[in-house]
């Protein structure tokens, strides 16, 4: 707690310092308004130095897996579709997984799904947004072909911005080239 407070104070001091110094000819570097984003209780997390290679985020929480008819089905509990490098072609080894999700969604037209496309860290960021979107759309097309209503599906691409696994390695790249099937 004390550490957190110190950091907040330091941040304030820093912002104030920022306010006072302005460039000689163009005073445009005021601190501006911080844009929202969700307020998080994370100010003073100290992180270990061996974080790299660890996993982050995207736990599949109980509320998703607990849906009627989903529990216990390993195909439906598979929520990550992996892709080859610079490719948005759905690999045949994921056909069964997508068929199971398609059947579930077609049978439950009130259920919505979000397809989140991602890319590995290599190359340029906006092109990777494009790759992530193409991947999400490829999955979407397969679901729609299998009788899922287009209105049930939303897509979003995060490109390389939200890796499933941090670090620079073949393993991380492979895990990060993916579409996540998210039941909100």
């Amino acid at each position: 707690m004390k550490i957190r407070l110190m950091i907040i104070l330091a941040a304030c001091a820093w912002l104030t310092a920022g306010c006072q110094t302005t460039p000689v000819d163009e005073p445009t570097t005021g601190p501006g308004t911080a844009t929202s984003g969700t307020a998080t209780d994370d100010g003073a997390q100290t992180s270990g130095i061996d974080d790299d290679g660890g996993f982050s985020g995207m736990d599949l929480d109980g509320s998703q897996a607990d849906r009627i008819g989903m529990q216990g089905d390993p195909l439906l509990e598979t929520r990550v579709i992996l892709f080859d490098y610079d490719s948005s072609e759905v690999r045949s080894d994921f056909n069964d997984v997508l068929a199971a999700h398609a059947a579930y969604l077609a049978a439950n037209p009130s259920v919505a799904v979000r397809l989140e496309g991602h890319a590995d860290e290599r190359g340029s960021r906006e092109y990777n947004i494009g790759l992530g979107e193409s991947r999400a759309q490829a999955v979407r097309r397969i679901l729609v072909l299998q009788a899922v209503e287009a209105s049930q599906i939303r897509t979003v691409s995060f490109g390389e911005e939200r890796p499933a696994m941090f670090g620079t390695s073949e393993e991380a790249w492979e895990r990060n080239r993916r579409v996540e099937i998210v039941y909100p």
Partner: protein
């Protein structure tokens, strides 16, 4: 080797103050010259005389000038401890003493009152061997803007001595990402080009990316994923006021300002998720489609004349750079070397294009000559990206990765001078060099 030490000394002097003012700011950048030109010019920048009663200067003008010149890699400032004397007027200069120290260029100056809260800075630049004045100048500046004035002085000296416009009085925008708890914190930061004076201008738990300076340097466009979906914002730096200018279904990305500042090129996905290039008139909100292709078309960049748009497309398989008239028309492929060329940024003179280029498995920054179509690889990393030209066209800044964390690097377009800008503990990415400040 000697170069590196003296640069580090100057930069330490520069950052001593910044650290006091900023505390443990995570945005603090550390700059080092990793490679300078052989035969960098030895220059002595003598502490400027301060002839103002009462207030003592917050910023050391001579130290800032020396650090700027050192950072260019083309000059080697003399450590103050080696100076035998510290003249502040021409009459006090003994050229023979400076010749003995092997300095080639001498900079002296003094600061006098010019009104309430304002000072006059007078400086002179001498060729030590010939004993001639090369440059003499006086400028007025508010006391609290001594730092900016110092960068202006460095620009003038640099231009006089090299014939290249200086870019020290410019700024950089960049993104930092910090892991916090289970998530990440994304910050869009604007700092002086020496890394000083960092200001967080946007801060979010969701990704922020693709910052782009307006041509007048007063605004930034960027992409933010607040709320879990992409939007393009335009933010006025001075006031912090911002506006969502593109909030359509699907991808809203890759904003690029038209040279007039009146419209943006950007990437949108249609309902079917196909990315194409559009232009958006910021006054009327009118949207115009530029490309129509089932491939990924993204990363638009205007040519300096505002007529054409360069963009990345994978229509031929891997990503390559293409050119299309903004009003629509024939698409022409620009890059042919290698299987991956993306995110074109055009030089201020319009003759060269910097790209992310796959060089035998390494992602590096290459510069393509638009006439000869030949590519020269300039960077040396494995995961380099996001090249941005300095407004004088003489150098590029780009993002690299080292030991699992992002940092920024600079390279002169001839590849001779290299620098590194890191922010210990932070992942730094997507640097964008500002245009020249308006006069």
């Amino acid at each position: 080797m000697r170069k590196r030490r003296s640069a580090a000394g100057a930069i330490f002097a520069l950052f001593g103050f910044a650290l006091l003012a900023a505390g443990p700011a995570r945005a603090e950048l550390r700059i080092e010259i990793t490679k300078g030109v052989s035969g960098a010019v030895p220059i002595a920048v003598v502490p400027f005389g301060w002839r103002v009663d009462g207030v003592s200067p917050a910023d050391d003008v001579a130290a800032i000038v020396a650090a700027d010149l050192a950072r260019s890699g083309r000059f080697e400032p003399m450590p103050r401890s080696q100076m035998l004397e510290t003249p502040t007027t021409g009459a006090e200069v003994d050229f023979q003493d400076w010749r003995l120290l092997n300095a080639q260029i001498l900079v002296i100056g003094q600061i006098t009152p010019a009104g309430p809260d304002s000072v006059s800075i007078q400086f002179q630049v001498f060729d030590i061997f010939r004993g001639d004045q090369i440059l003499g100048y006086r400028m007025n500046a508010p006391v609290e803007r001594l730092r900016g004035a110092s960068h202006r002085i460095a620009d003038m000296i640099f231009e006089k001595l090299t014939g290249i416009s200086g870019a020290f009085a410019t700024r950089i925008a960049y993104i930092t990402v910090d892991r916090e708890g289970d998530g990440q914190r994304y910050r869009l930061i604007v700092a002086d080009s020496d890394g000083d004076n960092p200001n967080v201008i946007a801060d979010s738990a969701d990704p922020i990316m693709s910052p782009a300076w307006s041509p007048d340097g007063r605004k930034l466009a960027y992409v933010s994923f607040e709320g879990g979906r992409s939007q393009v914002y335009v933010q006025v730096l001075r006031t912090g006021f911002r506006e969502s200018v593109s909030n359509r279904l699907g991808v809203n990305g890759a904003p690029a300002w038209h040279p007039s500042g009146k419209s943006l090129a950007l990437t949108l996905s249609e309902r079917d998720g196909n990315l194409d290039i559009y232009t958006l008139d910021l006054g009327s909100g009118r949207l115009q489609r530029v490309t129509r292709h089932s491939a990924i078309d993204t990363e638009p960049e205007w040519t300096p004349d505002g007529q054409d748009i360069l963009f990345t497309s994978d229509r031929a398989g891997g990503p390559q750079i293409y050119r299309v008239p903004a009003s629509g028309g024939d698409v022409e492929r620009i890059t042919f070397e290698g299987n991956y060329n993306a995110r074109a940024r055009i030089s201020p003179d319009g003759k060269r294009v910097a790209v992310v280029h796959n060089d035998r498995g390494n992602y590096r920054i290459a510069v393509v000559d638009l006439n000869r179509r030949s590519a020269q690889v300039l960077s040396e990393g494995r995961l380099d990206e996001a090249p941005s030209f300095a407004p004088n066209g003489a150098a590029l800044i780009y993002a690299s990765r080292r030991d699992g964390s992002g940092l920024l690097e600079t390279v002169s377009v001839d590849g001779l001078v290299r620098g590194r800008i890191s922010s210990p503990g932070s992942d730094v990415r997507e640097p964008v060099w500002s245009p020249y400040p308006p006069n």
